[in-house]
Symmetry: C2
Subunit: 256 residues, 2 copies
């Protein structure tokens, strides 16, 4: 099987490495950014190009790991090859391929990727979709080579999954970032809060998050809440976030 | 050494178990709730009481693991014994003991505790404080018996630490809760998002949260953001949270 990777960011990198580890050849990497393209091609022992018209026409599968806007501009310019085209995005409909090609689908790994942090792809849920039963089957088989957790998910549900992921990952990470800032201001090392972060995440494996909710908001401990708010006097943005989340947690638990 | 536990909730339970595991005898458990008092006393092989005037007078150390308001009412009623008195709260000043007793301090384990989930106390940061060097030393020595991570922290900084913990634990857990609801609505099992939660938390060990930030907000991907917002049309509270956090992440990364 011949694979072309379109994109050279975190998703393209980790996906390429995972495919390579399964003995699947990456023929070519395309990226607008020549440095990134070359770097990834080197890692994957593949060729690379920065010219859309040079993208190989005979690969079996093309992975688009691009931002929304880059995805559309490549799609408009590319002379559509015969292989299966899939994108890896959580929030782009499969139908974006329509009119550009005949065999297409989605290959969405539900994980957060950072450049220099290896991940175990076999544990990453992969949500796939194909425009025909045959195409879907091909994508599913490939997904199963990489991961033990594959799901067939339509575009509407995938968008909801992506929304859930924004809360569970991006917004969660922002909570860590805010905590990190508060700690820095008081001279604490970030490590002091590490066991708490680990345990909070770990807990979701055995207790559902609704039942696991602790803290001043859920018990409406007004004294603590007002102490916290006064500590945030110099940070009106954080105070707003604290207030909104506290009220929201309180009303969620009050009405249930 | 003789220990009295005042309280029978999650903190009292896990603290009692950790002390017991180190061979320290819990002499008595006090709680207003007779069922909880009896249950915990049974676990700890200690006696129990629900009557403040029956609390032992000769223990070496008294741990108050109570809510803010319960703490104050017990403090007013208790005939102050000779031993060291410590509370375990993140957001109560040490000075609350003043006028009630002469040897006092704080023993704050920076962790989230759930009743039926065991924790490894040796990995929990314990923040202590004492009203005299001698008292502080005694509390520190006890803390060191339980944990490899002890910190001397004054009340002002402990409150900030507690505030950071609210973001890193309570608000984070609420993000998981929201994600869980969105998944449930779309028929996904919570497990699908588990690897993402684990990885997001795990990442903080090697990358600081500011640099680890990913998602539509940090790259101001307007199309994705507007798709997400439209998915939240039926949930105005969540839409508000999504909007506020997205704007906040965006401006934090824009100005840096």
């Amino acid at each position: 099987m011949e694979v072309v990777l379109i994109g050279s960011g975190n998703v393209a990198t980790h996906l390429g490495l995972a495919l390579q580890a399964k003995g699947i050849t990456i023929s070519q990497v395309y990226s607008r950014n020549v440095l990134n393209a070359e770097l990834l091609a080197k890692k994957l022992d593949s060729s690379f190009t920065t010219d859309i018209s040079d993208i190989y026409r005979d690969a079996d599968i093309y992975f688009y790991a691009l931002t929304d806007s880059a995805f559309k501009s490549v799609l408009r310019e590319i002379k559509m090859p015969k292989g299966i085209q899939v994108h890896t995005a959580g929030c782009i409909g499969m139908d974006e391929f329509e009119g550009f090609t005949s065999k297409f689908g989605v290959f969405y790994p539900l994980q957060t990727f950072s450049k220099n942090k290896p991940v175990d792809f076999s544990q990453i849920p992969i949500c796939i979709e194909g425009n025909t039963p045959e195409v879907q089957q091909s994508i599913l088989e490939l997904a199963k080579q990489l991961s033990n957790k594959t799901y067939i998910v339509n575009s509407e549900n995938r968008k909801k999954l992506h929304l859930a992921a924004v809360f569970a990952c991006n917004f969660t990470n922002y909570m860590y970032d805010i905590a990190s800032d508060i700690l820095k201001d008081s001279g604490f090392p970030f490590e002091i809060i590490q066991p708490l972060i680990t345990e909070t995440a770990e807990k979701t494996k055995s207790i559902n998050p609704y039942d696991a909710q602790t803290g001043p908001a859920v018990r409406m401990d007004k004294k603590t809440i007002s102490t916290h708010l006064s500590l945030l006097n110099e940070a009106p943005d954080l105070k707003k976030i604290y207030n909104l989340l506290t009220k929201s947690i309180y009303s969620r638990h009050k009405k249930n």
